[in-house]
């Protein structure tokens, strides 16, 4: 009976050990390649740790002190050996560096065709907006096998948007836009974690990514209360905040026309050339004093504190939707 108990105890223990998870779900186009590098590094670690440990144990036994007044002979510094164990690790790190960096390089470049999604971190929630209109909190619905680019910022402190199953993460920093991209390869539900400590409920700032088949995703997009697109919301805000009084499409207002603004370089009054991207438009709205154009009086009021980060993103979506045709502004 005792042996029976012990046996079942052992099988239980074995089952418990086998149940310990050791590998995270892998569900994006980059996750396997990151894992391969991880395994390589694990192999290196095991090799050296094991090597050093066995050498030490061997020496400890082989060269243990056999009598209290034992006196080993002197050894001289061995130049060739010193050079070997300086150069070999250096070469190994070069290999790791090249591998890791080229992979990172690839993983950092979103494909042109990526669908954009916008994320704003706010103590202690993730606010997510799709350009088509749907907005979600702590949930992100995406289609499988399609590249998704996430542009994010924060309304308060630094957060970090982390999807372990996709091996991607990036800080959401107040005052700037950062981005990641991924392409999910498996339909399923995966964790979103906040990976940068952000206060009391940091550990509750978690959510789920739902990776759906293209048809399910299309149904999800069109389902529910059909909301307006981000650009449409932005257009409403453009009127509501009075931007329209100064920024008129035919350039007859006190401010420049914003038609055709996005995506082109422009010259500021201080001579700087700047590419007009999301970050610059955000800066123009939040701290207009820092973006002064030649030929315009610096009269644009700041909207800081009146417009939250999500609304800024909607205004940007609207400005972007104004097209890319040749821009009409005062003078040249």
């Amino acid at each position: 009976m005792l042996t029976g108990l012990m046996q079942s105890g052992f099988t239980n223990m074995a089952a418990a050990v086998a149940a310990i998870p050791i590998h995270p779900t892998s569900a994006s186009t980059i996750s396997d390649s990151v894992d391969h590098l991880y395994y390589f590094l694990t192999a290196i670690t095991l090799f050296f740790t094991f090597g050093i440990f066995t050498t030490i144990f061997y020496f400890m036994v082989r060269f243990r002190r056999r009598s209290p007044d034992e006196q080993p002979a002197d050894t001289k510094t061995h130049m060739a050996l010193e050079l070997t164990w300086t150069i070999v690790p250096t070469l190994i790190t070069v290999v790791i560096f090249v591998w890791a960096s080229s992979l990172y390089f690839e993983n950092s470049r979103p494909p042109e065709a990526a669908t954009e999604v916008f994320v704003v971190g706010k103590q202690w929630m993730w606010h997510i907006q799709h350009p088509e209109g749907p907005r979600e909190i702590n949930e992100l619905h995406v289609p499988v096998n399609a590249p998704i680019k996430i542009t994010m910022t924060s309304d308060d402190v630094i957060h970090d948007f982390y999807i372990p199953a996709f091996r991607v993460k990036k800080d959401a920093v107040p005052g700037r836009y950062t981005s990641i991209w991924f392409q999910a390869t498996k339909i399923g539900t995966y964790h979103i974690f906040c990976a940068q400590y952000c206060g009391a409920d940091h550990a509750e700032m978690i959510g789920w990514v739902y990776v759906m088949s293209p048809t399910d995703y299309a149904a999800w997009l069109s389902g529910g209360a059909r909301s307006e697109s981000m650009a449409q919301t932005g257009e409403r805000l453009f009127t509501q905040f009075g931007c329209i009084t100064c920024h008129v499409a035919d350039n007859t207002g006190r401010g420049p026309s914003l038609v055709g603004l996005y995506g082109k370089p422009e010259k500021l009054r201080n001579g700087d050339m700047k590419l007009v991207d999301e970050a610059l438009i955000r800066q123009a709205i939040v701290t207009p004093n820092s973006i002064i154009l030649p030929n315009y009086p610096p009269i644009m009021p700041t909207f800081q504190g009146q417009i939250n980060e999500e609304q800024v993103l909607q205004l940007i979506a609207y400005v972007k939707s104004l097209g890319t045709e040749e821009r009409k502004t005062n003078g040249k």
């Binding site: 050093i52 020496f59 002190r65 372990p164």
Partner: protein, 548 residues
């Protein structure tokens, strides 16, 4: 050598108590609080950092208890956040940074170079008082409700959003920094100016080289953390906007400044441990260190390169890809000198005469754990894997392997090695070896599962967590309880040994350093006559001879 030298020392036969030494030269609280003897100051530090270690450890125990349950077994999330913050602040700034330099370093630097004291004895006492004032501010912060920013104090959370005692804590850390600067200055001047006749640079024990390298970082790095915390205080009190994007500031700037100090600080914590290692390995294998110059210069290389790698903490902040590449390559570079040291220590054992005394067990534990800690650093220096592992338990495991597996192991090894010199007494060897084993097992059980947790994606600083992470968390907590007991055992037998331990004699290990050429405990002036050095350090092959 011990057998031949002992008869030359008249103090040997007389019990330690009846001979005048630095411990019994004068009595009373005042004689301690106003002492300028580097050995007594070392003991003042030893007492205070031991206290801080157990306070910080107590917070860690509470954290691990809390994490037994996914929904948190013990405290509210706000309290948990304070626990890990206070644990980090106390362990880093009030234990690890001063640990070896302020205790063993203070005690040994003059003794190892054949001097009677440090160059500036009163400055040395002042540095202890500064430490105490800093610690008092921080402990006040604990009592007044705690602080919850993480030991990293990241803005804008710390500057604008946290409602806890950020200012007293930051002030405490700010003040304590000056004690490090003074200690560093004192060591540099002492090592330059007060070496015994014949003790050239390349005859110095490697512990001295390590102290020298550490002092450089103290002097160059600590002012930066002081400035950083000063700006944080200004921002919090006056809202000057330097870290606030709403008025044109930049929260990431804080991270640059913080890590510019705090990465080198990692080496402040580990370099002294490496110095201790070289002393222990040579003594317990009766060998000259293998590759003296390589070990010595690798300390300096580490000290210098460590100032150029701070950006590896910020790969996922939106740092440019190219900056990432540079910080990555430099981080790999700083790993090489550490690897060189490990190989040289291992090679020192070759054809030695190895004994398994307690200090040696700690030393061997150090090599293993430090190797793992260092190698797992490669995962974080590699950009592609860092993206996944940054901010997870993998980081927690990695730096505990370096800081606890490395620095604390070396510290304990050093304490066990020099304890007979410091107190004149031996501790029970069996207990000491047993404790080393318990600590080694407890440590690995605590922190190894955290590597796996991190790879699975569990973020650090989580008061609650998804249930799939529970098994590994329970394992880690079980390990922590073993580790906690492992740390209590030495506390007990070391205290016991002060009164009841057998008399140690001047050189119980048959070691070669100058500190072993004088009675234990040493007289106040360290040496009756300043020794003249005629041989290299670790001259173990010179049978029976003394370096003096």
């Amino acid at each position: 050598m011990s057998t031949t030298v002992i008869p030359e020392l008249p103090g040997q036969e007389i019990p330690a108590e009846s001979r005048v030494n630095y411990l019994n030269a004068s009595y009373g609280v005042k004689s301690w609080l106003l002492t300028t003897d580097h050995k007594r100051i070392a003991l003042l530090y030893l007492g205070s950092i031991t206290l801080m270690f157990f306070v910080g450890g107590f917070f860690a125990v509470l954290m691990r208890l809390h994490l037994i349950e996914p929904q948190g077994a013990l405290v509210a999330p706000e309290t948990y956040n304070k626990l890990f913050t206070m644990h980090g602040v106390i362990m880093v700034f009030f234990f690890l940074v001063p640990s070896i330099p302020a205790t063993l370093g203070n005690f040994l630097v003059p003794m190892m170079i054949g001097a009677r004291d440090l160059a500036f004895p009163r400055l040395n006492l002042l540095s202890w008082y500064i430490y105490i004032i800093g610690a008092a501010f921080t402990l006040y912060a604990v009592i007044s409700g705690g602080v919850d920013t993480g030991w990293t104090f990241y803005t804008p959370y710390s500057s604008t959003f946290s409602h806890t005692s950020v200012i007293p804590t930051a002030l405490g850390v700010f003040i304590t920094g000056f004690s490090s600067i003074l200690t560093g200055l004192n060591f540099v001047v002492t090592i330059h100016k007060m070496r015994a006749p014949g003790l050239t640079w390349f005859r110095l024990p490697l512990f001295i080289w390590a102290m020298y390298a550490t002092s450089i970082i103290f002097i160059l790095g600590t002012p930066v953390i002081a400035i950083t915390l000063f700006l944080l205080g200004l921002e919090r009190l006056l809202h000057i906007g330097i870290f606030d994007p709403a008025i044109g500031g930049d929260p990431i700037l804080f991270q640059h400044m913080f890590w510019f100090y705090s990465h080198p600080a990692v080496y402040i914590m580990i370099l002294p441990g490496m110095g201790v290692m070289s002393e222990l390995i040579t003594c317990f294998s009766r060998k000259r260190i293998f590759g003296y110059t390589f070990v010595a210069f690798s300390s300096l290389a580490i000290a210098i390169i460590s100032f150029l790698v701070w950006g590896h903490h910020m790969f996922v902040t939106g740092q440019s890809i190219y900056a990432g590449l540079i910080f990555s390559v430099l981080s790999f570079l700083v790993a090489i000198p550490s690897a060189v040291k490990v190989f040289n220590w291992t090679a020192t054992l070759y054809k030695g005469s190895i004994s398994y005394d307690a200090p040696m067990l700690y030393a061997l534990g150090f090599i293993g754990l430090f190797t793992m800690g260092g190698l797992t650093g490669l995962f974080l220096a590699s950009l592609a894997t860092d993206v996944h592992l940054n901010g997870t338990y993998f980081i927690v495991a990695h730096f505990h392997y370096i800081m606890v597996g490395g620095a604390v192991m070396a510290y304990l090894g050093g304490i066990h090695f020099w304890w007979p010199k410091i107190t004149g007494r031996m501790y029970p060897d069996g207990w000491a070896r047993f404790a080393a084993l318990v600590i080694f097992v407890g440590f690995n059980l605590t922190f190894f599962p955290q590597f796996v947790l991190g790879y699975l994606g569990m973020p650090r600083r989580y008061a609650v967590y998804p249930t799939e992470f529970q098994v590994l968390n329970v394992m880690s907590s079980a390990g922590a309880s073993i580790l906690g007991i492992g740390y209590l055992i030495p506390l007990i037998y070391l205290l016991w040994s002060i009164r009841y331990g057998p008399i140690a004699g001047p050189n119980p290990w048959g070691a070669k350093g100058l500190e072993w050429e004088t009675p234990s405990p040493p007289p106040t002036e360290n040496f009756e006559e300043i020794p003249v050095v005629t041989a290299d350090a670790y001259d173990y092959a010179n049978v029976g001879g003394s370096r003096v």
